[in-house]
Every structure is written in C-alpha cells, then in structure tokens.
C-alpha cells in the first residue's frame, strides 16, 4: 500500500486560483505525489476537518482524472482500497508574519514530525504531542498518528518548506501489506 502526506492548504483549491500561483512548487509536488498514490488503485482520505477533506478530494480527483476518464465515479469507491492520503501540516506559527505569529516551540515540534516522516518512522508519529500541535496550529497531527502501526519500506520527502510561516511536507511512503 501507499501513503501520501500533503498539507491542507486552501490555496490549492481551484476556487481560490490566482493568475500567478502562490504555491507552484507545493502544488507540483502534491499533484505528482497524489498521481503516484493512485497509480494502481484509489485512495481514502484521512483529514482533521471538512476543509482539509475537501482539499484532499480535489487533489484526488485531479490525480484520478489523470489516470481514468471519470474521476468522480472512482472516488465513490475509494473507501475499499488501502492507499491513504493524509492531510497534515506542521506549525503555522514559524515567523512573525505567519498566520499564528511566532511561537519558538514550532521549530522543535516540526523537526520531530519532519524527521519521522522523512525516515518512515511510523511509530514516532504515534507519539507526537497533539496538544502542542494544536497550540501551534498544526493540522492533522491526529491523522498522522493513525499511521503509527504501519511498516514503511520506503520513505521519500518530496517537499519540505515554510514559505508563509507554515511548515508544509509532501511525503510518499511505500508500506508493507
């Protein structure tokens, strides 16, 4: 099975499209990771809230549209499959101009999450401090914790950056089973 982690960034939604994409590198990484995720089978979404779910659904629809003609039909059936799209990001308090202003605890927290994602250390995701994550406006930390029992055979970090004071990751995991 495959797991992809992408951040639930509303700027990725087509309804918020600009003439110049404010997140071109993030979008490119998300699109190609999701295309990889659904290369052979559909995927289900694990998200912290409705907004994150909608963003995941649109990314999946785009990924499936690249693979099959009728994306909407395929999404209906994704629950049956093993692949997972996790909507999560790190702290949104990484600079004075960040959405949540600066909180110095962001850096330690994000480093811990990032190291686990990059190494495919699923168990470490189960031990994250969800309360601290909430204080740092991190999204989907609970969703990441649902991956804790997986055995990761390959982990690739496609994108890790904080262009707007929010830590974004695009990660691909290949897992046993």
């Amino acid at each position: 099975m495959r797991v992809v982690v992408v951040p639930p960034v509303p700027a990725l939604l087509s309804r918020y499209a600009s003439l110049t994409d404010p997140v071109p590198e993030l979008r490119a990484a998300c699109v190609s990771a999701v295309a990889w995720l659904v290369e052979h089978d559909d995927a289900r979404i694990v998200a912290a809230d409705d907004q994150a779910r909608r963003i995941g659904e649109e990314l999946l629809a785009q990924g499936l549209a690249g693979r099959v003609a009728s994306a909407s039909e395929r999404i209906e059936t994704r629950i049956e499959t093993g692949n997972i799209l996790v909507m999560a990001n790190g702290s949104a308090r990484r600079s004075e101009k960040a959405p949540g202003h600066l909180d110095e605890r962001s850096f330690g927290f994000d480093s811990e999450v990032e190291a686990a994602l990059a190494a495919g250390d699923a168990a470490a995701l189960g031990g994250l401090d969800a309360r601290l994550g909430a204080e740092l406006l991190a999204s989907g930390i609970g969703a990441l914790a649902t991956l804790a029992d997986l055995t990761v055979t390959r982990a690739v970090m496609d994108y890790a950056d904080d262009p707007f004071g929010v830590r974004y990751w695009v990660v691909r995991w290949e897992c046993a089973s």
């Binding site: 700027a11 600009s18 003439l19 994409d21 959405p99 262009p163």
Partner: protein, 293 residues
C-alpha cells in the same frame, strides 16, 4: 454582466477572449487636442508616446490626426500626412499592437488600412457613409459611435433626448447593422456611446449609469471617458485634475462590462479595470495567499 454574456471579439487581426479587456491609448498627431495640447505633435514625440504606452501594457493605440473640437479645417491631404506614414511606422515596430485610427473619412481610412491599421474609430457616427465599405474591404474593425446627429467637429448645443440611452442604442445598433450589411465581420464591430459627443453632462452621466443596457446587446462596448468635460463639470475640475473622476466613471463602466477603454493614463486605468473585473468575478486575483496558507 457575467462572463457568459460577454463574447470574444476581434480588433482587426487581433482576437480577444470573452474575459478580455483592452486599453486603447490615445496618441494624438495634432497640435491642439484638449488634454495634451500638442505634446505629441512632433512625430518623434508621438512615437515615444507609442513606445511608452506599449511598455505600460496598452494592447491598442488610437492615432488621431484631427482634434474632436471645432478648429481649423484640416484637409484630407493634411490628415493623411499626419497619420498614414506614422501608422506604417508603428505597424512595423509594434507588430503585436492593435492600431486604431481616429478618423471619419473613408479616404483617410483606406490609406491607413493599406499600411496596417486594425480599427477605424469613427467618433462621428458614420458621417462618411463609405467608411463601412472601407472597413469591409480591408477586413478591419469599426467603432460605431453615437453622436446624436451632430455635424462633425461641433459641440452639442441645447440637445435633448426623450431617452438618451434609447437614442444611443438606436443609432449605434443601426450603425452596427449597416457595417455588417456592408460586409464587416460581426465579430469586428464595436459600439461606443461616445460620452460628451452630442451630449451634455447629464446625458453622459446617464449613459454611464445605464451602460449595462449597451453591454446587453452583445456587441463589445468601447468607452471613451478619459479626462472629458462631463467628468470636469461633475467634479468642478479643470483638464489635468480629472483622473480620479475618470477612474470612478471607468469603474462603473467596467462593472457593467465595457471591453475597450480609450485612455490617456494606461497604468491607472488598467489597474482600475482589473480591480473591478476581478470584483465582478471575471478575472482571478493576481496572487492571493492571505488566509489561504
């Protein structure tokens, strides 16, 4: 006016999509126009002006050899001397710019079309009946204006209308029909209510307020508002202090769906139109991330 009701259109060889707006920068080859008072009378100055407005993003220039207001009689030969070679030179150096020529005379129109003009901007409402034939023969666009029947280069004097917008619609649509009947491509016909032409300030304000009725005809609408007397009289501002009023009027016309803006100030008008076009939902923001990261 939603995007569905705005149509693609053509200005000579240049095509524009249903969401497009066009800045038409005024370039006077006159010694006496009201706003610039001959600043681009010298050919080199006029050419510098073209270069500047193209840099500023104007898609189109409107080259005129005779000021609109009454003044010294300009012969056909003199008008041609002022504009024909100049059009040829602009065509050569700016192949992607739409060239409009502000003339009502078929003979001048024929000469400028032969050297690359794309649009005949007839500010005088078809005073020369052969102008549409020239437009058809050269497959160029024509701007069909309303002047209330006044003679060329006269000011309105005590003109009244039962309904000025009805008169504008009647005359511009009749002119458009005449152009199409003469063989002009329907996609290449533009209508212009012609603010201040055959209109007092109250008329021009009403045309502005009701511009949506022109847009609703389906013909692309050109507006020429820049620094005009109706703006000056409304705000009690002399020429040179009318930009704010011009842009306010521009906003109202943009919201209604006007497509082509004949302007002195390209940058300010472009920003105004883009802002309104985006508010209207016809253009995305340039780059929006606030609250969306």
């Amino acid at each position: 006016m939603t995007l569905e009701t705005l149509r693609p259109f053509r200005l000579g060889r240049h095509r524009f999509g249903e969401d497009a707006t066009v800045m038409m920068a005024i370039v006077n080859r006159t010694p006496d126009s009201f706003y610039d008072k001959g600043a681009t009378w010298a050919e080199s100055a006029a050419f510098d002006r073209v270069r500047l407005v193209v840099e500023q993003g104007a898609e189109m220039v409107d080259i005129g050899g005779i000021k609109a207001a009454p003044g010294a009689e300009i012969s056909v030969a003199e008008e041609k001397a002022r504009v024909v070679d100049f059009v040829a030179r602009v065509r050569e150096e700016h192949p992607h710019v739409v060239i409009s020529v502000d003339t009502w005379r078929a003979e001048v129109a024929d000469a400028v079309c032969a050297v690359g003009a794309d649009v005949l901007n007839d500010a005088w409402g078809g005073a020369d009946p052969e102008l549409v034939d020239v437009a058809a023969a050269h497959d160029v666009s024509i701007v069909c204006t309303h002047t209330g029947g006044v003679r060329v280069r006269t000011r309105p004097h005590r003109i009244e209308y039962d309904d000025v917008v009805a008169a504008v619609l009647h005359d511009t649509l009749a002119y458009a029909d005449r152009a199409v009947a003469a063989g002009v491509d329907p996609e290449a016909v533009v209508i212009d209510p012609a603010h201040d032409f055959g209109k007092n300030t109250f008329h021009s304000l009403e045309v502005t307020r009701r511009l949506g009725e022109l847009v609703a005809t389906g013909w692309p609408v050109l507006v020429s508002l820049s620094n005009k007397d109706f703006v000056g009289e409304t705000l009690d501002q002399p020429v040179g202090s009318r930009l704010v009023g011009t842009l306010a009027a521009t906003s109202v016309c943009a919201l209604a769906g006007a497509r082509v803006y004949r302007v002195h100030e390209v940058v300010e008008t472009r920003q105004t139109v883009d802002m309104v076009w985006t508010i209207a939902g016809r253009r995305p923001p340039a780059r929006a991330i606030r609250g969306l990261a």
